[in-house]
Symmetry: C2
Subunit: 214 residues, 2 copies
DNA sequence: GAGCTTGGATAGTGGCACTTCCCAAGGAAA
DNA sequence: TTTCCTTGGGAAGTGCCACTATCCAAGCTC
């Protein structure tokens, strides 16, 4: 198919597709002659994946390129490819100053991992962006005077752990390795908006149960 | 305290504080004379809240102003104030076309709420941004050929429901109404990065348990 | 051969979160 | 008193980002 058809079938304007081609989020089409290139179903699928990451996952273009690089890199193991995708996602900025709140948050997070027995996560503490994000968020709470500590976090962490197990179970249901990897990446990126929306819906459900609509 | 001290104690540059004052995210200080204004602890607290929303919660400035308006509006009931904060948060864009995927996603979400017995959420279906986000995200999965439906979503929804119950339990532990409302708003905004970070950490923990670090 | 579409390149747009610059007024030091 | 620094406020500028508009020459279509 040509660019116009790719545009029509994906709902993405030709100008934007050209932009993605320029940004190397899509591989170039097969050049038929000087003014025509041919695209196939794989391009359409990749384009939809890119759109889903950008629009639903709110992933910036540069990060999309990075993630796709890992998706296409067959030399990496699955845990690495899954991790690479998650790690490439936008993160909260590095805490500029290591003030008392950040240090206290660091201790609480460490205590949390101890309590949960997440031995692997402890090993990843110094390098995992998720770990850093958690510390920053907990520090923000503490800075405002709320005592978020291991005790309050533990039940949340248990629930998130079960969520992660569901993620992996779902991934395992896919037959081919290529499909599993794409699903892992997608899951890492698209599951979060799903979880977020479910969380907000559940909050609405529950708070109206407690307090009514008024 | 004066602007310079407010800046020092919050770690936010004076230029940025001026910007927040101009954008009405902070109330003006008490004007001492033509070139001096006096700020107090409440300004510092509000500034930290604003920073937390913008940096950790990634909430755009315009939305922060909107949310703060609800926080300060004593005339609203708690469920409304909590909802108002969550609803003001950035959302995925409206699905442009009501194609087959969006329609199928809508049906699956409706089936999910039936299955879960979330009667209040069903009533909110036409107006809740969270509902719309969920539909958009599920549609994105379906467009890529993954069969996310009520059956796969239900266990996730159960876990998120328990999370929401934890949220409300935590809120109830705060003694004063004003504190509860601020905590509800903050929880709606800052809990999400916490949950996200916990989820990613749990994924790392679990996938390394399954597949190792290699 | 007139008039269309094609893909590629370049430059422009609009929004956002700051950040820089300038100013007049005030306080402090010489 | 004079000089110098600091203050808060406003206007304009910056840098980034995700597009989007405009050109262009080549080719296809009637």
């Amino acid at each position: 198919m040509r660019l116009a058809e790719l545009s029509e079938r994906s709902g993405v304007s030709t100008a934007t597709i050209k932009y993605y081609l320029r940004e190397r989020l899509l591989p170039p089409g097969r050049q038929v002659n000087a003014t025509t290139a041919e695209y196939d179903e794989e391009h359409l699928r990749r384009l939809r994946l890119v759109r889903a990451m950008i629009q639903v996952g709110q992933v910036p273009v540069a990060k999309v390129r990075e993630v796709l690089g890992h998706v296409d890199d067959d030399s990496l193991g699955r845990a690495i490819r899954l991790g690479a995708a998650t790690w490439a996602l936008p993160q909260v900025p590095e805490p500029v100053e290591d003030d008392e709140y950040v240090q206290a948050a660091r201790q609480e997070v460490a205590a949390l991992l101890d309590r949960l027995g997440w031995e692997n996560a402890k090993l990843l503490a110094t390098i995992s962006p998720a770990y850093r994000s958690l510390v920053v968020a907990v520090a923000a709470f503490r800075r405002l005077g709320y005592g978020w500590g291991a005790e309050q976090l533990a039940p949340y962490a248990e629930l998130m752990h079960r969520t992660a197990v569901l993620d992996l179970d779902n991934m395992e249901t896919h037959p081919s390795e290529a499909e599993r990897v794409e699903f892992a990446v997608l899951g890492a990126i698209l599951n979060e908006p799903v979880l977020q929306a479910l969380h907000r819906l559940a909050q609405e459900e529950e708070s109206t149960r407690w307090y009514g609509f008024g």
